[in-house]
């Protein structure tokens, strides 16, 4: 494992940062069961991070969550063992998650978050060490330059919140290196450079980490398909393939056999079993005979996974849109995209319905109705919408309470429980999961009464 703790001897462990940059795979012997167990433990951490992010947790809360998750799943009495476990599990999951674009995207984003919050938990000295390990070519700006932009830097610091105390150490970097700081207007920008404060370098380092990992994943994928998969056919391949399916939640890309719905039932199903986000889109579609692009995608893919056949989907959208734009324009402009969603046009990919985290992180704009109502509605509108679903009293207050603390999926779960008068232990993390759970409950009550 020469690569991982580059040029540093174990004796320096006291000053060496505990964080690995995972530059290349360890030359360690790993027992087959550890191979799998370590990976599962790391997946629990990543899954926990994913949940935390989709609940809209703040950076401080995430920091706490990550340190708890790490302690619960990755700790080992022996620090060197812990480091081994960290590195081994990371590389196993690289194999698992290199194999499709979606898997890579998820892994990349969770590993980067994990790295980010672990970096934040490090001491300033160890942070500086890590920075030098990345070999970033940026120097802190000198005093003279600092004086010329001091006022602006202060203005930015104050605009991001009152708590940040005056930082004197700044790095001047091309804005391309710190997209998230640019996106949040958390840096002063001048002629293409972003002024990054010492307490923000985590973004710089995380970007670097992410881009290294992203490139590495593509290479791993190439290696996997060209050699490893066949070579390890009887040993690692089954483990790797099992790992990626078990822990991403159920796959809603293919409608289940039993769940086929027909057009005549759709209104009944919408009011009994659609989650609020889909119900809202559905109602708006019936009302305005139109939905903008984001809404069509969110609702269209949901309906596909619910079991609406392509022909029915075309008929359904046409019956609404033609009232607004006419049947001819529908055929010309919109039917293509519906077939496209069903994988019948263009790339012929069968598109997957949106999960909660995707819906929550969407950014509806003027005229849009998509997104997560718990996140994107004003409180007043949400109250009214929930009222229409028959939710009131204590449960309504509980839901709004969760929304205020930005636990959108929890709020949706509480809504589910209030509407169905049944508990939902797994929590809601996919609109189609909401739908299926709802149908299951309704079917059992129907059977019970008949």
């Amino acid at each position: 494992m020469e690569i991982v703790r580059s040029q540093r001897k174990p004796a320096d462990a006291a000053v060496a940062p505990a964080l690995s940059l995972y530059r290349s795979a360890p030359a360690l012997e790993v027992r087959l069961e550890d191979f799998e167990l370590y990976a599962i433990d790391r997946l629990r951490v990543l899954q926990g991070i994913s949940d935390g992010l989709s609940r809209g947790k703040k950076p401080q809360e995430m920091e706490k969550l990550v340190s708890e998750l790490w302690r619960a799943h990755m700790r080992h009495q022996d620090p060197s063992e812990e480091m081994n476990k960290d590195i081994i599990s990371h590389f196993v999951l690289r194999l698992v998650y290199c194999r499709t674009e979606d898997l890579r995207k998820w892994f990349l984003s969770m590993e980067t978050s994990l790295f980010r919050y672990r970096f934040r938990l490090e001491s300033p000295e160890s942070q500086r060490l890590l920075m030098s390990e990345f070999q970033l070519p940026y120097k802190a700006i000198n005093h003279a330059e600092f004086e010329t932009v001091k006022d602006k830097l202060n203005q930015v610091a104050r605009s991001t919140g009152p708590s940040s105390n005056a930082e004197a150490l700044f790095f001047k970097v091309p804005f391309e290196e710190v997209p998230e700081l640019v996106a949040g207007r958390r840096v002063f920008m001048l002629k293409g450079f972003a002024y990054v404060a010492m307490n923000q370098v985590v973004s710089l380092v995380a970007t670097q980490f992410r881009s290294n990992l992203s490139k590495a994943l593509v290479l791993t994928n190439r290696k996997w398909t060209s050699t490893i998969r066949d070579k390890e056919k009887n040993r690692l391949t089954p483990i790797v393939e099992a790992l990626s399916t078990g822990y991403l939640g159920p796959d809603y890309s293919q409608p289940k056999e039993f769940s086929e719905i027909s057009l005549k039932d759709i209104d009944r199903l919408a009011s009994s079993s659609f989650p609020l986000c889909m119900r809202h889109l559905f109602d708006k579609l019936r009302e305005n005979h139109h939905l903008k692009h984001g809404g069509r995608m969110q609702l269209g893919l949901f309906l596909k996974a619910v079991g609406l056949k392509l022909e029915d989907a075309l008929a359904f959208w046409k019956s609404e849109f033609s009232q607004k734009v006419g049947a001819e324009r529908f055929d010309k402009e919109y039917s293509y995209s519906i077939r496209h969603n069903y994988g019948k046009e263009g790339k012929r990919t069968d598109y997957t319905p949106y999960a909660c985290h995707k819906i929550i992180s969407s950014t509806p704009s003027v005229g849009d109705h998509h997104g997560c109502p718990y996140r994107h509605f004003s409180e007043e509108n949400l109250r009214a919408a929930l009222g229409k679903m028959g939710v009131g009293g204590r449960s309504l207050d509980d839901i709004l309470d969760k929304v205020r603390s930005r636990h959108y999926q929890v709020a949706c779960t509480l809504t589910f429980e209030a509407v169905h008068a049944a508990s939902c232990d797994s929590g809601i993390n996919h609109p189609n999961q909401y739908f299926e759970a709802s149908q299951k409950i309704l079917q059992t009550t129907r059977q019970a009464t008949s």
Partner: protein
């Protein structure tokens, strides 16, 4: 105004709601009530000369059409063009080796509309051949950073027009968008080669063409779009602008003091009569988080309609009253002081179509096209003189035709457009955008080449 990428998009087959190209004359003639035969009789070949093929080719070549050893001669040929043909047939992944190729194809196919896409890793017309080679090498590698602002997104704050219509009362909303974005793109992001184009009917397009901008990743593009995003829509969210923190970010502060505040108070307030009726001022009062203040003002304005007989404009009077209440010493709460700014941002801050800017493979209509409904040419807008841009006087196709026919009596020359009212626009495009751009492309090419030569020399020394 733009066509999203075919994959995963519903708007791909968006028909020529918009533009078409000047050269697409056959369809244009039909729209203008002439048959094809008539069209051909009427100087169709001449109109072809109006579309500045050569300029567009030089622009999109970015210096790679020269003789310098660092030129990449495959560059222009890897650029995607999309045509919308008659009967709304949408043809993607067109590519051309040179200006003549492009011109011939346009003449032959007569598209209603031409969109410009990204530069791909390989010739997009041959993407299937490459796909069979196994490695998925067909991917966008360069694309201008683009912005699209559409007046129909402002329908909740303008009362003069709605939908696709614009007039001189609401157009200034576009003008200030140009000002806010242009300044930030230059001063904050350090870009220099920015082309603003009138979209032909109700909005503006922006092309940032610096090499650095063209090479941005999707994530970096999204970051820039988010930097500019203040207005958060969603039909179910009453408060669209939330400004937090004790002070504004320098970019927002500058936009506010240099552009938005003066425009809102000096122009929009009166031109849109923002406080003239209860429906209108109630909309503004909804932005105020303190209900008692909002209802106090509501009562005041509802009750004493008669007392304001003064000659002063009712909008100005009420706005001053609102500001006074919110900013008076009593209102210590920061949220309320910030509210004046929030109102102004809500009403004036640029509303971008975010998706257009975020992805490399979004298509955008080419400049110098003609809008089929208005007949107006998508001419460049000078950001330094955008106050004087008047969308209602932009040359139309029929006007240009007439001018051409008038002048055809006289001499034949290469640049027919010089004698039309389009001349000014093309001259501006060349002198203010194209030549500085090509100059810097050349310099960049030179310096990259020199450093490469140096590197290889050093390598040889070893």
């Amino acid at each position: 105004m733009t066509c999203k990428l075919m994959d995963a998009s519903w708007s791909t087959r968006k028909l020529a709601q918009f533009p078409e190209d000047l050269v697409l004359t056959i369809s244009n003639y039909i729209m203008y009530g002439l048959s094809c035969t008539q069209a051909k009789l009427h100087g169709l070949p001449k109109l072809g000369k109006l579309f500045p093929h050569a300029d567009i080719y030089r622009w999109l070549s970015y210096g790679n059409d020269g003789k310098h050893p660092a030129c990449d001669h495959s560059y222009f040929g890897r650029r995607e063009f999309s045509f919308t043909l008659e009967n709304d047939i949408y043809v993607r992944f067109q590519s051309f080796n040179n200006a003549v190729d492009m011109e011939n194809s346009i003449r032959e196919k007569c598209p209603y509309k031409i969109d410009i896409g990204p530069v791909y890793s390989v010739d997009p017309a041959k993407r299937h051949a490459y796909a069979q080679s196994g490695n998925n090498v067909f991917a966008p590698v360069e694309r201008e950073l683009i912005f699209d602002i559409d007046m129909s997104d402002y329908d909740d704050v303008r009362y003069c027009c709605s939908g696709a219509d614009v007039c001189l009362n609401c157009w200034p909303l576009m003008t200030i968008s140009v000002k806010v974005l242009d300044t930030a793109l230059r001063d904050d992001f350090g870009f220099n080669h920015i082309l603003w184009v009138y979209s032909g009917r109700r909005g503006v397009h922006c092309w940032v063409c610096d090499g650095r901008a063209r090479r941005l990743s999707n994530e970096q593009r999204a970051a820039i779009a988010d930097y500019f995003r203040v207005y958060k829509g969603g039909e179910n969210n009453a408060k669209k602008v939330n400004l937090t923190g004790p002070v504004l970010h320098p970019f927002l502060a500058r936009s506010y003091t240099d552009v938005l505040k003066g425009f809102f108070e000096g122009k929009l307030l009166a031109s849109q009569n923002l406080f003239a009726s209860i429906e209108r001022f109630q909309k503004i009062l909804e932005i105020i988080p303190d209900e008692s203040i909002a209802s106090e003002l509501l009562d005041k304005w509802q009750g004493n309609r008669r007392s304001s007989i003064s000659k002063e404009d009712v909008n100005v009077v009420r706005w001053e009253q609102l500001k006074h209440v919110l900013q008076s010493g009593k209102q210590k709460a920061q949220g309320l002081r910030r509210c004046v700014e929030e109102i102004i941002f809500t009403y004036t801050y640029p509303r971008l179509d975010m998706e257009v800017s975020k992805h490399m493979n979004h298509l955008l209509k080419a400049p110098f096209c003609v809008h089929p409904k208005t007949g107006r040419v998508c001419v460049p807008i000078d950001p330094n003189n955008c106050d004087n841009f008047d969308p209602t006087t932009v040359p139309t196709l029929s006007q240009l035709l007439e001018e051409l026919n008038m002048s055809s009596m006289r001499t034949e020359s290469e640049d027919e457009w010089e004698r039309t009212s389009l001349g000014k626009s093309i001259k501006f495009f060349r002198s203010s955008f194209l030549s500085p751009l090509l100059k810097s492309c050349k310099e960049e090419m030179e310096s990259v080449y020199n450093s490469k030569v140096k590197q290889s020399k050093n390598a040889l020394n070893w």
